[in-house]
């Protein structure tokens, strides 16, 4: 499994240079059957990344550019009256054609469009005019939010942010990476070199395997204590929801699987905690810290699962 993921990473890295950790996290989110929110400035390669990923895994890719006049029916599909047959015929929307869907600048869409997309993300099915249509599997939404030029935008409400598994940020490439990128694109498009190294069926079986990764009570207890502590932290207004705890568990399982193990350790939880929870923590207005600092603080304060339950053997101090 590790080699397969390495192959995918290598293929994607042909196009996106020097962002191995972010690509890996997106892959892990894909394995965990979650969705990704990318918080970035324009032009750092979000679309390219999504295209390369879909090609390397052999998935269908669609992209939708959100503007205030994109309607819910554009993504979910709609029923149209067919004069010849006298019946309503369902026209599938963009959701049905994609395994990987890139929703660009989701904060520019109207709130009803946002909620239509997020509902589909959660339930993996679409209901139009009383009929339910399941979506393709696997299904990964990569939504982006631009942090500049936010005039006239609708920020995602907290309740909808909560539905994304992770929030990541690509960030600018460093000097060497940018040089490499420029060199690669002199006479050809490196996207063409990306070949499919992982079949869709393999990916689906990997997702099933992730679900059967062992998470012992020690780990679940750790996740619970972390989330509970986030709710009582002095700088936090709204802490991590139970859904957030569930997502930490899923992401940690996928991370363990990606590391070649079939059991979750405390280190997996710590590795994914920041990415999964940074957008789930609402700070108080007068606090001067950031969500990341609060999460680091929690990791430092909450006793790690290795230590917790130390009394089982020899009690110290």
């Amino acid at each position: 499994m590790r080699t397969q993921l390495d192959n995918v990473l290598r293929e994607v890295e042909k196009v996106i240079v020097g962002k191995r950790d972010v690509i890996e996290k997106i892959l892990i989110a894909l394995l965990a059957e979650g969705h990704v929110l990318l918080d970035d400035v324009p032009g750092v390669g979000k679309t390219t990344l999504a295209v390369a990923l879909s090609r390397a895994v052999g998935l269908a890719f669609r992209r939708i550019q959100f503007t205030p006049d994109v309607l819910p029916s554009d993504i979910t599909g709609f029923s149209m009256y067919d004069k010849a047959s006298g019946e309503f015929i369902y026209r599938p929307g963009v959701l049905h054609q994609a395994n990987i869907l890139l929703g660009d600048e989701i904060n520019r869409a109207s709130s009803k469009t946002q909620s239509a997309l997020l509902e589909a993300m959660e339930e993996r099915q679409v209901t139009v005019d009383g009929n339910t249509y399941p979506l393709a599997s696997p299904f990964l939404v990569i939504a982006t939010e631009n942090s500049v030029g936010t005039a006239g935008t609708q920020f995602l409400p907290y309740a909808q942010m909560d539905r994304f598994l992770v929030r990541l940020s690509l960030g600018y490439p460093d000097h060497q990476a940018q040089m490499a990128m420029l060199r690669d694109r002199q006479d050809r498009n490196p996207l063409d070199d990306v070949s499919c190294v992982l079949e869709k069926e393999e990916l689906l079986s990997m997702q099933r395997a992730v679900r059967s990764v062992t998470a012992k009570d020690a780990v679940l207890d750790y996740i619970t204590r972390l989330t509970m502590a986030s709710r009582t932290h002095e700088a936090v207004r709204v802490g991590i929801s139970p859904r957030g705890a569930l997502f930490i568990d899923r992401m940690a399982k996928a991370a363990a699987y990606a590391d070649g193990r079939d059991y979750v350790t405390g280190a997996d939880v710590q590795a994914v905690f920041r990415d999964v929870c940074a957008h789930r923590v609402l700070l108080k207005e007068d606090s001067v810290t950031t969500a990341e600092q609060v999460l680091d603080d929690l990791l430092k304060k909450v006793a790690s699962p290795d230590r917790h339950g130390f009394g089982a053997g020899l009690k110290m101090k």
Binding site: T214, V219, Y263, V264, T265, A267, R307, M316, K317
Partner: protein
């Protein structure tokens, strides 16, 4: 608020303990005066304004801050300064901020007219006087029952205590007389043994205090003084005890008050005062005469047994006769001093309810048991720790390798922690980078391997192999050897006896 009441209860106990064996007018006056103690903060508040640190004032200040943050202020052309985190959003000067491309904030200039100021001052005065009245009432409400209790209840209890102690002393005298008769002990030997016992006790106490780094020294001194008083029947000046309590309080009550220290202090004071108050009055003039009576009675009994005295002497019979008569007529005349004493003892027995005696005897027995058991408590504690450590070590050889590896690795961690080389709340796999240089070469690598095995044992269902157990055992041996070699003698004592890591 609750802490204040605990403090008050402690003070009350102290006062009651004092009252128990200082029975003159001067002390009573001092006690009555000290009943005014709870009023001190109130009076201070009345003359010097409210206490700035009190929680009430904290609340008032918070409310003021909230009001200041939320009320809309007039659009004054006051000073403008750059935004700092924490400034209220309402105070941002949007127009100027837009013009200068920098977030600016109107500086807080509290503009208030005199009328409002006056009104606020009036309100503050009214609040203060209201608080004074409430405080006075509260103080009176506490003071009155206290004084009543001290004046009426305590002397009666004291008499009861003395009577009980007389009985106990009499009984012990009888036993002593019998014991001296049957088991004669050479003087010198018994003194040596007692001295050795006392020295042993002192040494164990001192060792314990060194081991614990605690405040037991003062406790020990106090307990020692109390026992000294009880044993020799000496009444050290009351003020010496008060001084001891004061020293205890100063050493134990760290600010801000912690609940356990207050509790510990209260318990210590309670035990000390009860011990002195319950046992001390027994050893005074009344007891001496009681023991005389017992000796008389014992010699009389011996006389009766050996047949030298055929019947009770004339005087005794008369005494009893007078006693029964006085019960019937209510008269209390006594012919001789001894007869008088007998009469009073009997009267006490009739007038006092029986269960009071039973309760006091039970309480005294409890105290005696506590005094007997307490010196051995440290050894019991150490022994239980040793047993626990042995049980933990037994797991090292258990059939379940996973469990064994976990236990061995945790022992390694315990060693590192106990010698101050632990890395706190980090996951164990991350400790390797922070291990000290004094450990042998290649140690961090072996530590990492072992941490991985530990994680596998802890988080997965895969059974580990025997070689992992050997690896963990080797690591533990290495850790023990290196850390033991580098530990000072204090640390070694700690490791061996308190942590029980070394056998």
């Amino acid at each position: 608020m609750r802490k204040r009441w605990i403090g008050f209860a402690v003070w009350l106990l102290l006062a009651a303990g004092l009252y128990f064996f200082e029975n003159n007018t001067g002390t009573r006056i001092i006690l009555l005066c000290s009943a005014l103690f709870p009023l001190v903060p109130v009076i201070r508040g009345a003359f010097f304004g409210p206490d700035e640190k009190s929680p009430d004032m904290e609340k008032v200040r918070t409310q003021q801050t909230i009001r200041a943050l939320t009320t809309q202020e007039e659009d004054e052309p006051g000073d403008v300064r750059p935004y700092r985190p924490g400034d209220p959003v309402r105070r941002i000067h949007w127009k100027l901020s837009a013009k200068r491309d920098q977030v600016l904030v109107r500086d807080a200039v509290p503009v208030r007219d005199n009328e409002e100021q006056d009104r606020q001052e009036d309100a503050a005065t009214a609040r203060r006087s209201g608080r004074l009245r409430r405080g006075l009432l509260r103080g009176l409400a506490v003071m009155m029952p206290t004084c009543l209790f001290l004046i009426f209840a305590v002397p009666a209890a004291r008499c009861g205590g003395e009577a009980l102690c007389n009985r106990l002393f009499a009984a012990s005298e009888a036993v002593n007389a019998y014991a001296y008769e049957r088991f004669p002990v050479p003087e010198s030997q018994s003194v040596t043994a007692a001295a050795v016992l006392i020295v042993l006790l002192l040494i164990s106490l001192a060792g314990l205090t060194v081991l614990l780094h605690s405040r037991l020294v003062t406790l020990g001194v106090m307990a020692g003084c109390t026992l000294f008083q009880v044993y020799f029947g000496l009444s050290l000046p009351t003020w010496a005890n008060v001084l001891l309590y004061g020293v205890l309080a100063a050493r134990m009550l760290k600010r801000p008050f912690r609940r356990e220290s207050v509790l510990l202090y209260a318990t210590a004071v309670l035990v000390a005062s009860v011990l002195t108050a319950a046992l001390l009055p027994g050893v005074d003039a009344a007891t001496e005469s009681a023991s005389e009576a017992v000796r008389d009675r014992v010699s009389q009994m011996i006389g009766q047994l050996t047949g030298t005295v055929a019947e009770l002497p004339e005087g005794e019979m008369q005494t009893r006769h007078v006693y029964t008569q006085s019960l019937q007529t209510g008269r209390r005349e006594a012919v001789t001093e001894r007869e008088y004493r007998l009469v009073t003892v009997e009267e006490e027995q009739i007038s006092r309810p029986h269960w009071v005696d039973v309760l006091r005897i039970a309480f005294l027995l409890l105290l005696v048991v506590a005094v007997l058991v307490l010196p051995f408590a440290p050894f019991l504690l150490l022994n239980s720790r040793r047993k626990k450590a042995h049980a933990a070590r037994k797991v090292f050889a258990s059939g379940d390798v996973n469990e064994a590896v976990c236990a061995i690795f945790r022992q390694v961690i315990a060693w590192l922690e106990a010698t101050g080389h632990g890395a706190g709340n980090l996951l164990y796999r991350d400790w390797a980078a922070r291990l000290p240089a004094l450990l042998p070469a290649g140690y961090p690598d072996r530590f990492s391997q072992c941490a991985m095995a530990f994680e596998q044992a802890l988080y997965s269902d895969h059974p580990l192999g025997e070689e992992q157990r050997q690896l963990a055992r080797g690591l533990l041996r290495e850790t023990e050897a290196a850390l033991w070699k580098n530990a000072g003698w204090k640390r070694r004592v700690l490791l061996k006896y308190w942590m029980c890591l070394w056998e």
